[in-house]
Symmetry: C2
Subunit: 420 residues, 2 copies
């Protein structure tokens, strides 16, 4: 088998553990130097590929690559950029082939979510449609946890651990203050289309540490009266109430609450953020003092609180991606397959990319309690194993010590520029 180089690119929103996957791809490729040459990385994802701005990961020491295991976000830069179909924008694909050929790229690893799976599928068709031999493997990554076939998505377990921990901690705080001060605490979390992260907030409440919790899922349209009644009942019974709300919560008309503009509690437009909106509603309608938090990037960048299970799975998909590629498997994605809940067991399988691309896996209705404000035992059984285990980064002077790679550019070989 001829030795050819590999190209790895990160895509879409980054996570606390996407670099774990990068580490796995590079370390596994280094074990197979006789068949896989250098691993190049696109600087800022596919944009770096199109503009021939590649990073030579072989210039990084084994130690630097290993440090990716505990470094959040995208070490090579990511981007939000979706390729059109080959028929609609052939020039882009011709450019990709030009860059691939110039650097003898035989393997393409695309590390992302839904949109990226679609891009990767298109790249996988270059051999057949445009005659350039390439093996393209999609490597799953998304905090939204909405890729099909795979039981969960690398990145999600760590966000889940972060939001559940944060809500539990905040709940202890509110419980202390409720007598004279804050009675309702609202935490806004990510997940615009699917309520997986919102469901994970539900783990804050368990048998040993009950928390009066109300969850607002993007899958369940907001019912103001029912919501207020539930919050008020919790405050009456427990003295306080915690609310976890998805950024993607929809109003009765199916419009995003956060964008519903003039409909907030005071009749004013919103700067964005459904969390403050819900909090203000509680205040104006029930009169309870509130606090709210919007975790935003903090939740998906929190490597200091990563789930060990997530770290192991993020590594496993990167390693499997290289092994699949070396076995000649084109247009696949390593998927995490759960083989048992108790004890939790999983293995890696191969999902055909055409079954992955552009499908969104929403939170099943059976994971949401009948009243629409909580999670079921089934959801709990699914979620709990994913947040298990701690994997602390090293600390220096009291702060996590994260690495920055040198990111040495590969000398350009093409005379032409390409406008992205």
């Amino acid at each position: 088998m001829t030795r050819r180089n590999a190209l790895y690119a990160q895509s879409g929103g980054v996570t606390a553990v996407i670099n774990v996957t990068a580490c796995a791809v590079i370390e596994t490729a280094r074990l197979h130097r006789q068949r896989m040459g250098k691993v190049y990385a696109g600087r800022n994802g596919i944009i770096g590929v199109l503009s021939e701005d590649l990073i030579d990961t072989s210039r990084e020491s084994a130690r630097s690559i290993a440090a990716l295991m505990h470094t959040p976000a995208g070490a090579f830069g990511s981007c939000r950029y979706k390729l059109a179909s080959i028929d609609r924008d052939r020039a882009q694909y011709e450019r990709l082939i030009e860059v691939f050929r110039a650097h003898d790229i035989g393997y393409f690893f695309y590390n992302g979510g839904n949109d990226s799976a679609d891009t990767c599928l298109k790249v996988s068709q270059l051999s057949e449609r445009m005659g350039y031999p390439i093996i393209a493997v999609h490597v799953p990554k998304t905090v939204d946890n909405d890729l099909p076939i795979t039981d969960c998505c690398p990145g999600f377990g760590s966000v889940a651990k972060y939001v559940a921990t944060s809500m539990r901690e905040a709940a202890f705080d509110v419980a202390s203050m409720a007598k004279t001060s804050t009675r309702v605490f609202v935490l806004e979390v990510m997940g615009r289309h699917a309520g997986w992260i919102t469901a994970a907030v539900g783990l804050a409440d368990d048998e040993e540490t009950p928390v009066p919790l109300v969850l607002l899922f993007p899958e369940i349209r907001f019912d103001e009266a029912k919501f207020l009644a539930k919050v008020d009942a919790h405050v009456r019974e427990f003295g306080y109430c915690c609310v976890g709300v998805s950024e993607g919560l929809l109003n009765a008309e199916g419009k995003l609450m956060a964008e519903a503009g003039t409909t907030d509690a005071f009749g004013h437009a919103q700067l964005g953020g459904v969390g403050p909106l819900i909090a203000a509603l509680v205040k104006s309608k029930l009169g309870h003092k509130y606090h709210w938090a919007v975790a935003d990037y903090l939740q998906r960048a929190a490597r200091h609180l990563a789930s060990k299970t997530d770290v192991l799975q993020s590594y496993a998909v990167g390693k499997a991606a290289v092994e699949f590629a070396l076995a000649g498997r084109n247009a696949v994605m390593p998927a995490i397959l759960r083989t048992s809940d108790k004890p939790y067991r999983w293995k890696i399988g191969a999902a055909p990319l055409e079954e992955v691309a552009n499908f969104e896996k929403k939170l099943p209705r059976g994971y949401i309690s009948a009243d629409g404000f909580g999670i079921t035992a089934k959801a709990r059984a699914y979620l709990e194993p994913l947040v298990r285990g701690e994997d602390y980064p090293p600390y220096r002077n009291g702060l996590p010590h994260y690495t920055r790679l040198r990111n040495v550019a590969v000398p350009r070989r093409l005379a032409t520029d390409f406008k992205v």
Copy 2:
């Protein structure tokens, strides 16, 4: 010496480590049973004392009390309630004495910030002014870090560690996304009157891990043009910019930005939150895509990321409080005295309460860089030791395992109620 009981109460906003101090008070008192009888706790702070709603901590096992070491927020409940002076509201003090006498309270430990120090001072005057023999010791606690005399305040180091870590992690995220997406990230932090927490955000940026950072302190009035120029310069040079803003930021007229109502970037009223306001301003004036986070209670409840230094100091002040009381020292506060920066060394001293109560220690101008948007080397030398060391809580099923005490009520001995 006669054996008398002790009363401990938590006051004001809680922290990730106030229970560490509670643990120290109770454990140290238990070592001196022959002189200090039971330790009672006010349920929800001083309100529980006034209403004779006391908790008997002797009903908790040594193991439960030890678990307070890793449990955030106020285990006995806190409150926001300030006593008027003895001259203005004598009835309240008569009630305190009535409750103290009924339960043979000889020692009063009040665990709080500025307002609490004032309350504790008033209680300490009961012997002299009203003839009830009591020793009152204030135990410092405030994330705001604004108590005088003590070098730092228990609770602050952990918030500092949290905000610096969070900003560093978010900075890695933004740096990955900046090519095609978010260029400016805004994190709103606590500290309404003093910029200590805002300054701590500055630790996210250091020599090994530079971060283009702009800090907005409550001590420096907001200068929109200068701020925008600074942000834009960072974006031009580094591709992105991170902004740490105090909830207490004031506009040019000295009004709270978050309450300046109709002055936001879109001319609309605000739901609260200067973070989203600043972010929207960046978008409207510079056109950069933004994200913002408001950490709110998450920052002060984050026991999972507590500073070991803070934990040790929180214990030390609780232990010293009991020792001071047993030594007959009334109207004092154990203060943390820094004896050396490098290596960082500290010891406990006694601060007279009348020098503590109602003084607010603001961030010195010398800790803020000349342009008003950063911290100086002096600030760094002060802050760095306070975030050092990790002290992880135990985890169960992937989440921190925090304790809830039984909080058994002390049988009431008074026939009268007291309206708080």
